[in-house]
Assembly symmetry: D3
Homo-oligomer: 160 residues x 6
């Protein structure tokens, strides 16, 4: 009986921090579904399709994973996929607070689904999609934060 876990996020764009976490999760669970949220609170920089495509490209060598788009409640999505775990990364304090709040909210909506937290490598722990987008738009070389495919798409997007 395979056990699945969902790793939900906006992945706007995927960073080395996300990839680090996906690799760790794929070592623990039989299958990890990396789920790109199409309904995000903030307007994303990349479209849902761009985010999906970059994520697939960036994780093509990781086994036991599936990359998909989801909308609606993450717990509904987990139920539909027979997954009983949500995976989240622990990065920083303020992050941690928000993550706990979200995990407790999800647990109250469905107590059979557990949120588990993994820790990225310390060299990836501070990487923030938001800061990367700011830095890239000011011309910074972001190749130490995101995979090559993301660097390329950024360049094209910022040119246009």
């Amino acid at each position: 009986m395979p056990k699945s876990a969902i790793y939900p996020g906006s992945f706007d764009p995927v960073t080395f921090g996300h990839i680090d976490l996906i690799e760790r999760a794929s070592n623990i669970f039989d299958e990890v579904i990396v789920a790109v949220a199409s309904n995000t609170v903030k307007q994303p920089f990349f479209t849902t399709e761009e985010r999906l495509k970059l994520l697939k490209e960036a994780t093509k060598n990781i086994k036991n994973i599936r990359v998909e788009i989801f909308d609606g409640l993450v717990i509904e999505y987990a139920r539909k996929n027979d997954a009983n775990c949500l995976i989240r990364g622990l990065r920083m304090i303020s992050d941690f607070e928000y993550e706990l709040q979200m995990a407790l909210t999800n647990r109250r909506l469905d107590k059979t689904i557990e949120t588990i937290f993994l820790m990225p490598s310390e060299k990836n722990a501070f990487i923030s999609s938001t800061l990367i987008k700011e830095a890239a738009s000011l011309g910074a070389d972001i190749s130490s934060f995101v995979p090559e495919c993301v660097v390329e798409v950024f360049k094209n997007k910022l040119k246009s």
Copy 2:
């Protein structure tokens, strides 16, 4: 000489966390004025009148309280009502930081008015109006976070 305390907030919408705090405050002070801010920094989801009405409905069985709208500075409002205490809830760390900052700012504006902090029950400590609005808009059942009257108004609002 009765002592009044003000519990200011945006209450967008009122949650079980707010009600928990209002009950605790009503056991300590002779009168608690629950004050709905009409001038909020962020655009509220509910109108000031909706927020007032839901708050009144949700707290109708609590003694020693008064529910009102206020605009302008909260310390001016406290002075007008002869209240020397502001009440705030302590929920989480990031929250706590912001609350301290606001309390110290208010104290410098009027040093005779004291901010006191109460702790909600742990089962209400993580409830966030923001997360509830997100969850409700995605179709979640939010009846374990907010009173029945709020559930109803949400349904009507989201239908339209």
Copy 3:
């Protein structure tokens, strides 16, 4: 019917931070009982009697207060004194965590007793009895952290 509040602590020794809080509490409550714990987890530097005497001396001009020794559970002591509030100061984050933990433990032991948190002046917010004792033992002038009576007793104690 007067409302009492308990401000419990080890006061080893009383600092300007404690006095700040006692003054604020005395403006809110009809009576504040400042309660010196005789059974402390860590071995105190000053005896219970010394801590009581210094606290009394340092607060002699504050109205509406009573300074006493207590042992046993603070909630038992509150019940015996018909007090329904415990007062605690909010200083720093790590402090805050411990305080919340203790307040929730006390609430579960007696849910009729509420812990309320007050904020000292920012100029007193960082004062720590522990650091003061370390500094004094190394010869520092601690007169900007503690009242004159404490400075004197420290000098005598360190001489002997």
Copy 4:
């Protein structure tokens, strides 16, 4: 191929917080080894054998678990048991910091072993073995924090 996880701790004594976490872990992993540290930094209140016995008694109805004593490095113990996950609970901020520090230290000692963090129920999140021991020694009724078997042993231990 079954996957095992280790939940190490001093369990001095086991609380409802620990039991909460063990239940959650047993729903995720094929086997959870609850490992009582015999070499603790602080002198424990209960002996290793008492801690083991209470833990076994308190978890006798939870499936998929094994309760054992271990000494030495937790990562050595994990290797010997073919376990690739360590389980830890996330309770509070200061806790969280220490936990991250320990997890990163363990990861550097053996990068094949992953620490995963679970969140107890909010009603168990603030329970602290240290505060319980303090409260019990002052005569508090601790039956809402620890299982009945622990209450009994405490009573006997405090009598003698």
Copy 5:
């Protein structure tokens, strides 16, 4: 060979907290370049020129400093000015997290530039440009948070 440090910020508007930090930095470094960001993520309340003018006026008596506008990446600006230090203030926890994240991002972009953190006086540690703007727009007297020149400009801006 003089050593320069950059103190970058949006200064929207300059507060006593910023001035406090600039004074401290000017006592440590041979030259401090106070750099007003023209490309801010959030829409500023004051124009870049207003922010520059107020900052110059407010710091005219501080030696060893230069006030300038910059755009683009702060590390590029530091390189152009032969400055190997960025100065940032430490105020509060959530602040601290963001600052660490930004500092580590900047370090990865240019490892020769070091971010150093200074602590404002405790009486200035909680001052927030955001809260001041809110308070001023509601009619508060903000003269204990910002220099006189800022008070005046605010009055004129809010009248119009």
Copy 6:
């Protein structure tokens, strides 16, 4: 006129985290005095002389530094050495709180001496002398946390 900075600590023992910070400080200041506290609150594992010797050995290739023993107040020591800066590392949140508290205490004792905070590399940010001592005493290979000379001394110390 050379500017000196003091980096005080117990260095029990020196770790890669300390060395990281000393290197950064030596790039900013004309001279850095690394000062080993002989009067520590907790009983150190290594003697003052051992700590000094290991620190000297571990930093022998870093320019612009001096390694010394000090006792008494660090601000007295700074005054005697004409140093107007104390250097401290920022590692984690709980750390940060304590560091701010100590820095504000030192500032009140001597307002002419400024504490500045530097950030170690993320790969060194979590290294803790306390955890290393625990791990080493349980037989762990600590060579990725401390320099070779410390590894050797540990081995000899633990054998005896």
